[in-house]
Amino acid sequence: MRFFHVADIHLGMEPDLGFAWSKRRQEEIWDSFRRLIDAARREKPELLLIAGDLFHRQPLLKELKEVNALFASIPDTQVVLMAGNHDYLKKGSYYLSFSWAENVTGLFGETCERVDFPKFSLAVYGCSYYSREVTDNLYGEVRPSGAMQHHVLLAHGGDDRHSPWKKEELAAAGFDYIACGHIHKPEILIPDRMAYAGALEPTTMTQTGEHGYIDGIIDSRGTRVSFVPFAVCEYVDLILQVDEDTTQFSLEQQLAGEMERRGEKNIYRVTLEGLRCEALEFSVERLMQTGNVVQVTDRTRPAYRIEQLKREYAGSLIGAYAEYFDGAEGELEQKALYYGLEALLNARQE
């Protein structure tokens, strides 16, 4: 039996609110979900597991209709979904009153329930969130039961405020596979046993690297899973090294070149490092307008040779100042050192 495991699709979310690409990303999230359904139609997995946070917020009726129509278009695949902490089952949620297509099963209980699929001799376990935060482990008690051969758990959370669990304990319960959601970075927690599918599309700049879904098989030989990169966009951490010859223009050129090379659809988080020409300060704002740049962190330092300055100015305030911060590791102290030196050196009377 083959399955797709996805999570944290966050339909309706506008990532990077306030940036130019925000609306485009909202569309791309929907598009990727549609592409996922296309993939399921093509490859016909027996099961599509959605481990929570299909929607970023409470789904509207029309949105559920849209999603349901998509599910109905893959009648050969059984869809099992649950509500996560973002689309949790609040009073009046359409999730509960909606009449789903035949191949869709919602695990909307407050505690874990079991749904059997005798056709594949499979039982799927899980429950839904009824509030934004759940500080008890929702999956502490659930164990495989019943007459089915294979057992899959759908679990959402894993951090302190969202059903905290220990992966070893959860894995020890004896499921063939635990499909986890909530953490947006894809991660195989226990090989072929337990994994976060990660968000289908990354939603904020901290979620660097590939995103997609998990494609797995459960049969008599056990479980095998593999990650399938699927997202159209990636957040990329870009470190630009500057030196004393770097100018604003050359830096912009360098950034534009890097972005072209790595893909212009991606969104970049840029860090500047190295020693810059003493008299120069880079314009972060201009760099951010060079492309899809969500953040620029300037960690460059003026190219002062601290040791040389200490020697040259020994016995003077500048020397004493450099000496004062000598060996201070903290970022704050380092910054203060350079700010102070800059001011002091500029205040020398020629």
């Binding site: 962190t297 040259e312 020994a314 016995g315 305030l317 050192l337 700010y339 500029n346 205040a347």
Partner: protein, 513 residues
């Protein structure tokens, strides 16, 4: 340290030039362009090496300026000096990639290491910066009175505050303050942009909330109406009219019924008294039939009326039911939209903090300012009192007791005290200011270069001195028994020394070349 011999093997305009210097006062005389400042630079470069500018600055640095006019790859000098009773020879190559610099003790033949800082030890640990601001004395640069007083004031403040004559601590702090302001403004701008987005979201939210409230009210109104209809607490005017009609019709039938009944009764009486005829019997029969018909009609009409009235009422209720259902759906949809937007608004508000990076930058600038002030204060309290005493002593000697004390108040106002009065620095003559400046530098030198007595290099220092002041200054220097090197383009120093009978050694650059 005393300088003995300067060999400018190939430096700037000089080739194979050897200048001998003696103990006591040396006068290096040369007209403009004869190379006085080259010699000056040579001494500094020998003592501290020559650092190259980087990048664009390199084109005009000391290295390029004194690069030999001919044979630039051999860019070299040698200097002999005594320190602590021993003689040393220092050789340096300035050319790029040239051979090793060399420091040899001529007294015992020991080769010392420049890398390990042996020269620095011989110099008593003074740095290039301290050297430039103490040992080597030029003229005050400012030309106008106020600017001059300001320059001197800065100088004094900084000597007192930081030991470093060239540094304007106040200017450094001011520029940091400006920097902090810039950073804060940047953060403020960002905050404002966030606030704008927030208020946009808020107005969207309040519009939606209003919409939601209205939908709810509509729903409630419809539900109340339905309730009223269903339980019929009130009767509509139409119904009243209908009831009235019904009543009238019934009364009509009632009267007809009574008439027929009376007629029937008369007939019955007639029958009773034997007035029997075919007519009465027939009338009786007809009357009974009419009575039955009327009663039937009455009942039928009433039943029909009731049915007709109930029907539209139910229709209305059914319509109200549809309305309620529709409005319920609408309200629910709107409520969810509203909640979603409220969540989004709350999350956005929570995310509206100044980025940590910016906060750290602002904190770093603040820390830099605090640290500079702290170090500056520490040094001030360490050096300040001694320095003031020393300046006062020197100034007193230079002015032959006319001015006895130099003071500086908290606002850095410098004043000089004579026996009877106090003069603020700005009010004194240029000559006096130059004297205060000279006294200041000599005093600082005594404090900072206490480990090793350094030669005093005076570069056109006395240009603005009148005869009397020059005499006093030269006498003071002669009494100090230091090695003094005076660079001048005038003859007056020599003449004054001759007149005072102070021995000196003269090097004439214009003659040698």
């Amino acid at each position: 340290m005393k300088l003995k011999k300067l060999s400018l093997n190939n430096f700037g305009r000089f080739r194979g030039e050897v200048l001998k210097l003696e103990d006591g006062i040396n006068v290096i005389y040369g007209e403009n362009e004869s190379g006085k400042s080259t010699v000056h630079t040579f001494i500094r470069s020998m003592l501290f090496g020559m650092k190259r500018g980087r990048g664009r600055a390199a084109g005009n640095d000391v290295y390029s300026r004194y690069e030999p006019w001919e044979n630039a790859s051999w860019y070299q000098g040698r200097m002999e000096f005594t320190s602590g009773g021993k003689e040393f020879r220092l050789t340096r190559s300035f050319a790029k990639g040239a051979g090793e610099d060399e420091l040899v003790c001529l007294t015992d033949g020991e080769i010392l290491s420049l890398e390990d800082g042996d020269l620095s030890v011989l110099l008593g640990g003074i740095s290039e910066n301290v050297y430039e601001n103490t040992v080597s004395v030029g003229q005050l640069k400012a030309r106008t009175g106020d600017a001059l007083a300001q320059e001197l004031r800065n100088y004094m403040a900084n000597y007192q505050g930081s030991n470093d004559g060239s540094l304007n601590v106040e200017a450094a702090l001011t520029s940091l303050k400006k920097k902090r302001k810039e950073l804060e403004q940047e953060a403020e701008l960002q905050r404002k942009a966030g606030e704008e987005e927030k208020s946009r979201m808020y107005s969207r939210l309040s519009y939606l909330e209003q919409d939601c409230r209205e939908a709810k009210e509509r729903l409630e109104r419809t539900m109340t109406e339905r309730k009223r209809e269903m339980f019929g607490n009130e009767v509509s005017p139409r119904e009243v009219r209908k009831q009235q009609e019904r009543f009238l019709t019934r009364r009509k039938y009632g009267i007809a019924c009574a008439v027929v009944a009376v007629f029937l009764a008369i007939l019955s009486v007639m029958q009773f008294f034997g007035v029997s005829s075919l007519f009465t019997r027939l009338g009786l029969g007809i009357s009974v039939l009419a009575l039955i018909f009327i009663i039937y009609q009455m009942f039928r009409y009433t039943r029909e009326e009731d049915e007709e009235i109930i029907e539209p009422e139910q229709q209305k209720i059914r319509k109200l039911n549809w309305n309620v259902e529709y409005l319920e759906k609408e309200t629910r949809q709107k409520e969810i939209q509203c909640q979603n937007l409220r969540e989004e608004y709350e999350e956005f508000c929570a995310s509206l903090t100044i980025p940590a990076e910016q906060q750290e930058n602002i904190a770093a600038v603040t820390l830099a300012m605090e640290t500079i002030e702290k170090i500056s204060r520490q040094q001030q309290s360490r050096v300040g009192i001694r320095l003031r005493q020393s300046i006062s002593e020197i100034l007193s000697e230079l002015t032959d007791g006319k001015y006895r004390q130099v003071s500086m108040d908290d606002d850095l106002k410098i004043g000089i005290h004579s026996e009877n009065y106090y003069v603020p620095l700005e009010k004194t003559s240029r000559g006096t200011m130059e004297q205060v400046y000279f006294a200041l530098r000599m005093a600082v030198m005594e404090i900072l270069c206490s480990e090793e007595e350094m030669p005093v290099l005076l570069d056109e220092t006395f240009a603005m001195y009148d005869e009397y002041r020059l005499e006093r200054a030269l006498t003071w220097l002669a009494n100090k028994k230091r090695q003094v090197v005076i660079f001048t383009c005038q003859k007056r120093e020599e003449q004054t020394l001759d007149r005072l009978g102070i021995p000196y050694h003269k090097v004439d650059l214009s003659v040698d070349l």
